[in-house]
Symmetry: C2
Subunit: 345 residues, 2 copies
C-alpha cells in the first residue's frame, strides 16, 4: 500500500461515525449494534480497507516478523530450511526477515543488530562456523527476545533448539561404508567449533571402533569454512591423498563438503565410486542424480524449518513468557540411500 491507503478515519468520516466505533465494529465488538457493524463492514469493503500493520506494531509493540540467520541462502540445505520456516510463518501471518552470516562471526553480530533494530519478535539462528560463544545472543535473549536454534546449536542459552541426530546419521553412513567392504575410510568435516561437527565426527569414530577398525587422525580433515570456500576443501582432499595409505572411501559431513569433495575428486580424475567411494551429508539434487554413484545422508530440512518456527511462534505467543525448560527436539531421522555404494571384497 502506498499513496492513498484507506484508513479507519476515512471510514469514520464517510459514515459520520467516530474512529473508535469503526475500530470496534471491525473487530466485531459486542458493544456495537449489528446495524452499524454491517454498515462499517460494507464501507470497509467498498473502500478496500486494510489495517495498517505498522500502526498496529507500534501500538502492540510487536512486529509480527521473525528474523532468520543462516550462513548462506544459496545452499540447498538452508534454502530447504527457509522453505519450511516460510511455510509456517506465512500460515500464521508473520514476516520472515533473512540475514546471512557468510560464516563470519562479525557479520553475524551485525545481522543480529540489524534484526534487533528491526524489532523482530523472535529469532531463528544457525550460528556461523566462526561462532563459539553466546555473548552476542545472550544479551538479546536476556532482554526477552525468544530465540530458537536449528541445526547448528550453541550451548549455554536457555532456548529451544531443533536438530537431527547427527551421531546416528554419521554412524550409519560410516557403517554403510564399512559393510560395503571399505577399509580405509577418511572423514572430511567442519570446524571443531560446531557441535554438529563433533557429533558427526564422533559417529564416524564410533562406527570404526565398533568394527574394530583404527581411527587414523591423518584420515580426518577439518575444513574451517565448511566448504563455503572451495579451495579449502580441495586442499583437505588433496592432503588425504598424500598419505602413504590412500583412503579408499571418504565420508563428508555437510552439503558443501560433499559437493566440494566430488568436485575435487573429479578434478583429480577420480571416478566415484569406481576409484573411491563417497558417502556424505547432502540435501542437494545431486542425491537423486548421482545415484547410484553416491550414498547420501539427507536431513529433513523442511521439517526442521517448520519445527523450529513452530517452537519459536509458540514461545512468542505464549502468555507466560517464562519458559522454564530448554527443549531439544531431535527430528525423525537421516535417510541413507542404500544399495548405492558397491560392495567390494
Amino acid at each position: 500500500m502506498k499513496f492513498e491507503a484507506t484508513t479507519i478515519k476515512d471510514i469514520a468520516k464517510a459514515l459520520g461515525l467516530s474512529t473508535s466505533t469503526v475500530s470496534r465494529a471491525l473487530r466485531d465488538s459486542y458493544e456495537i449494534s449489528e446495524e452499524t457493524k454491517k454498515l462499517v463492514l460494507e464501507c470497509a469493503e467498498k473502500l478496500n480497507y486494510r489495517p495498517n500493520p505498522i500502526a498496529l506494531s507500534l501500538k502492540e509493540r510487536r512486529s509480527r516478523s521473525i528474523g532468520v540467520v543462516v550462513c548462506e541462502i544459496a545452499n540447498n540445505f538452508f534454502s530447504q530450511i527457509i522453505n519450511g520456516i516460510e511455510s509456517v510463518a506465512y500460515e500464521r501471518g508473520y514476516n520472515v526477515i533473512i540475514a546471512q552470516s557468510h560464516e563470519s562471526y562479525e557479520r553475524e553480530i551485525m545481522d543480529l543488530q540489524f534484526l534487533a533494530s528491526r524489532s523482530v519478535d523472535g529469532l531463528l539462528i544457525s550460528v556461523s562456523t566462526e561462532t563459539n560463544d553466546t555473548a552476542h545472543l545472550k544479551s538479546l535473549h536476556d532482554r526477552g527476545l525468544p530465540i530458537v536454534f536449528f541445526d547448528r546449536i550453541l550451548e549455554g542459552l536457555e532456548t529451544h533448539s531443533v536438530g537431527v541426530d547427527n551421531f546416528k546419521g554419521a554412524y550409519e553412513a560410516t557403517e554403510h561404508l564399512i559393510k560395503s567392504g571399505y577399509k580405509r575410510i577418511a572423514c572430511l568435516t567442519n570446524s571443531e567449533y560446531l557441535s554438529i561437527s563433533n557429533e558427526r565426527l564422533t559417529g564416524y569414530k564410533e562406527a570404526l571402533l565398533s568394527y574394530k577398525m583404527n581411527v587414523k587422525e591423518n584420515y580426518i580433515q577439518h575444513c574451517f569454512y565448511g566448504g563455503m570456500i572451495f579451495s579449502e576443501v580441495e586442499e583437505a582432499v588433496n592432503k588425504l591423498f598424500t598419505q602413504k595409505q590412500k583412503p579408499d572411501a571418504i565420508f563428508t559431513t555437510s552439503d558443501k563438503l560433499t559437493t566440494g569433495c566430488l568436485k575435487t575428486l573429479h578434478r583429480r580424475g577420480l571416478k566415484v565410486p569406481a576409484d573411491i567411494a563417497l558417502v556424505g551429508f547432502s540435501n542437494s539434487d545431486i542425491a537423486e542424480l548421482l545415484h547410484p554413484a553416491l550414498t547420501v545422508v539427507r536431513q529433513p530440512a523442511y521439517e526442521m524449518g517448520r519445527a523450529a518456527t513452530e517452537l519459536l511462534l509458540q514461545q512468542i505467543e505464549s502468555k507466560r513468557p517464562i519458559k522454564q525448560f530448554e527443549k531439544r527436539v531431535l527430528l525423525p531421522e537421516l535417510t541413507i540411500r542404500h544399495s548405492s555404494t558397491p560392495k567390494i571384497s
Copy 2:
C-alpha cells in the same frame, strides 16, 4: 528489542531536555549546540539507544522493506537470485520479505496482498507459471508501488525488468548440440504463458533452422509447472521416447526441468551422454559435478538479483516518482560449458 528498549523520551528525561531537542541532536541538526549534541550522543550511547524503525515507518509512511515473490525458494536459480537481492538490500538497510507462489496464480495474488498489507516499499517479482495477466499487479502499481520484474517478465506494466538474453542462451545451447553432431534434438520447456519459455523455445527453433534442420513439433514438450511437479517432467520425457524416431539429444530450458529430465533418464536406465545427450539451463551444483556429462546454460542469478534490487531501490528512493521510461536490462550472458558433450559422427 523487546521489554525495556530505550526511547528518545528516556534520553530527554535523563538530560532534562525535550524530546524534540534530543531528536534533532541525534540527527545532528544545525540548530542544536555542540554541547547539547555531545551530551545527547553520550547519553544515547550509555543507554544503548536504538531508533524504533516502526515508529519511523509510521511517521514516514515507508517501511524500508521490499517484497520478493518467487515460485520456490528451494531452487538453486532462485536462491541465488535471493542471495543477490539480499546483498543489495542489506547494504542499503532494507528488509527483504520473501513469499513463494508455488507456481500458483491464486497464491501469487495472496502473496501480493500479504506483502501490500505489510506495507512494502517496493516489489520484486518473478511471476508464477500460471500468471498470464497483469491485473493483480496493475492495481498495486497504479497505487504507486514500485515494481521490478526479474527473470519471468510480464508485458503491459510500465516498470523496470531484469532478465538474460534467453534467445541467445537457447540458440547457443542448441547450436552446441548440433555442432556436436546430434540430429534429433528434442526440447523440454515450460508453460507457454511465460515469455522466457517462448524466447528460449524460439532460440531452439532458430538454431535448428539456421542449420537446415527440421523443427518437429513432436520433439517439443511443454511442462506447465516447469518441473516443480516431477511426474509432469517424467511424462514429458517419456512421450519423447514414444516417437518413432527417438531423439538423440534433449535441450531443457530450466533448472528443475534439467534435473527432472536427468532423473527420468536415469530411471529409464539411460546414461548421459553415452545414450542420450543433454544440454540444459541450470544453476545447480550438478553443473560442476556432472561435468563432463552435462553441458549447462548458467544464468548470472546473483547479478540478476542485485541488478533488480538496485533498480527497485533507485525507483523507491527517487525524488521524482514519475519515471517516464521502462527499462529492460539484459544481463551479460549465459555460460555454456563447452568441451562437454562428446562429438559424434
